[in-house]
């Protein structure tokens, strides 16, 4: 099939519309402005809605509304904007509405800078908003993965009735690469939305989308147990990752997103030096691919990320205390390069 050169942001927009997304709301923030800009052009052409919201608080609540009607809906932003969305995300997760949220992460904390970062991982996989909830978190590392995972994100959201977060970064968003614009085909059974969507109560009992569960007091306890069961099911069914030269590797680099590509290149260079190094690219960050890490328990691990230490916590949880688990992080914006990682690997060999 034909490939086209395009930015990661544009691949994301094309995939969304191809997957039947009909509602987008967003607020400008670098480095993801290409997403709302292209959405504003393309949505009307496919009879969808584009709204430039007055804030990210408003965009995420528009998604809450659109998703409640059963429409496939999406918002995108970057770190400070996604912080503002946390309230709405908690409500959407509580109401079990499917939708897709995109965070093209930039460096924080605070206003930080515009350079690429992976420092929103905790916010993405450990909550961020209030209450016991989980997001399905997908981390693409190439523009083709952006395209494919974006289409899949809508299916995961509908199938599991849960919000899905696509976690990119400033590089992923801006980088230009060839993308095969595949036709959309659902990868999972998609349950009907007729038994909960708000459409007006014609010829049926009314539907309620709500998140308060006041009375009796165990109503919320029961609902949260239901969510817990759902999250367990998702964890059992959905983990995505890729392995590179792990079989005989003495040291395995663990990374996700753009950093996983630097890791692969480093594996290549390290092998030339005679070091037995492999890498694992994590694609689902929640559910966390524990099993694949456990498979190699006892080997040496190097966790590489664009943050001063977030991914390392989940890797340590997965591996327990066996073997060496070292960290190479780069905080404040930008990625660790192959030279830096190689130096770290050489030191590990000493």
């Amino acid at each position: 099939m034909k490939k086209e050169l395009m930015k990661g942001s544009h691949a994301l927009v094309h995939a969304s519309i191809e997957a039947g997304c009909t509602f987008f709301a967003g607020y400008p923030i670098t480095p993801q402005n290409e997403i709302p800009e292209l959405m504003s052009k393309l949505m009307p052409k496919s009879n969808g809605t584009f709204i430039q919201a007055e804030s990210e608080v408003s965009s995420i609540n528009m998604i809450f509304g659109a998703a409640s009607t059963g429409a496939r809906s999406m918002t995108s932003s970057s770190s400070p904007g996604v912080s503002l969305m946390q309230e709405g995300i908690s409500y959407i997760a509580a109401a079990e509405l499917p939708c897709v949220i995109v965070n093209m992460v930039r460096a924080g904390p605070g206003l930080g800078n515009l350079r690429a970062s992976q420092a929103d991982l905790f916010q993405s996989v450990k909550g961020g908003g209030h209450g016991d909830y989980r997001l399905i978190v997908l981390a693409p590392s190439t523009n083709q993965e952006i395209y494919d995972l974006t289409m899949a994100a809508f299916d995961y959201a509908d199938h599991h009735k849960n919000p899905v977060l696509i976690l990119g970064d400033g590089i992923i968003s801006q980088m230009i690469e060839p993308v095969e614009l595949k036709k959309y085909k659902p990868i999972l059974p998609l349950p009907s939305k007729d038994d909960w969507a708000l459409t007006g109560c014609k010829d049926r009992q009314r539907h309620l989308v709500k998140t308060t569960r006041l009375d009796p007091p165990d109503l919320l306890v029961k609902h949260n147990l239901h969510l817990k069961k759902k999250y367990k099911k998702i964890s059992d069914e959905l983990t995505l990752f890729k392995e590179f030269e792990t079989e005989d590797a003495e040291i395995i680099i663990v990374a996700y997103g753009i950093t996983a590509r630097v890791a692969q290149e480093t594996v290549h260079l390290a092998r030339k030096e005679g070091m037995k190094v492999g890498s694992i690219q994590l694609i689902t960050l929640w559910p966390f691919p524990n099993k694949i890490l456990k498979k190699y328990r006892g080997r040496d691990f190097l966790v590489v990320e664009m943050s001063n230490g977030q991914l390392i916590e989940d890797v340590k949880l997965a591996l327990g205390c066996k073997g060496r688990i070292l960290h190479f992080g780069y905080g404040g914006g930008w990625y660790p390069d192959t030279d830096q990682i190689l130096t770290k690997l050489r030191n590990m060999k000493k």
Binding site: M62, F64, C201, V209, K210
Partner: protein, 243 residues
């Protein structure tokens, strides 16, 4: 004869003399009279009326505090032929949700917002609201509003009327049996405005809250009269003929 389908036959939790009770009922009656029930999607806000879905048999979405306008904007855009009705208190609409309120009105979204102004945060126990009157004592203005840089009541109808987006804006007071008829008429106008595709309609109702105001029902009606000194009733915008 109109069949009363929207109002459920259950006891309401509202305090004696509370305006929410009557307004919930009026909304049900107007929805039935206009035959809108099966195409209605209504919001319930964070506040005393959060449980409005226990009383009205409609498709309802319960929104986060202040976010009703954004949620409903999206619903209306996705389902343009449905009747989309917002219901909000003063803390919800004029404090935490002011931004959403102004921008939704400015976009001229074809939805209807009913604004229950009881000059107090009822649900959380009677704190100052953005619409509390000068000098009004509340649990967070022990010396009366204004003694500690709290400002004066925000006039939402007047503020929204400065925008080009809205089509119909009216403020009414609930202070007598007769006033209920006016409120019902205003609701009909606003609902019809949306049904005719004419755009954003906004109905503010000055509504008694004896519990929050720590007075009795009779005094609360006098308080609604006093509210009108700062928040006069009337039609602030009517562009229905021009849209």
């Amino acid at each position: 004869m109109t069949s009363q389908k929207t109002l459920k036959d259950v006891k309401m939790h509202y305090c004696p003399g509370c305006g929410h009770r009557m307004i919930n009922k009026l909304i049900a009656h107007v929805i039935d009279e206009m035959g809108l029930r099966e195409k209605t999607i209504m919001s319930s806000p964070v506040g005393c009326s959060v449980l409005v879905y226990d009383y009205l048999d409609l498709d309802v979405i319960e929104c986060a505090h202040g976010r009703v306008p954004s949620v409903l904007s999206a619903i209306k855009r996705c389902l343009p032929d449905r009747f989309v009705l917002g219901y909000q208190g003063d803390g919800d609409l004029a404090a935490i949700g002011t931004n959403e309120t102004i921008h939704t009105a400015n976009r001229g979204e074809n939805i209807t917002i009913i604004f229950i102004n009881n000059a107090v945060y009822g649900m959380t126990g009677g704190q100052m609201a953005p619409t509390s009157l000068p000098g009004q004592v509340s649990t967070t203005t022990p010396k009366g509003r204004g003694a500690n840089f709290e400002g004066n009541p925000i006039k939402m109808c007047e503020l929204l009327a400065t925008l080009d987006g809205p089509t119909y804006i009216e403020r009414l007071a609930m202070n007598s049996a007769g006033s209920l008829k006016n409120i019902k008429e205003a609701l009909k106008k606003a609902f019809q405005c949306q049904q005719d595709g004419k755009g954003y309609s906004f109905i503010e109702i000055l509504s008694p809250c004896p519990t929050g105001w720590k007075n009795d029902i009779k005094e609360s009606l006098n308080f609604v009269d006093k509210m009108q000194e700062f928040l006069p009733v009337g039609v602030f915008k009517d562009e229905r003929k021009n849209r």
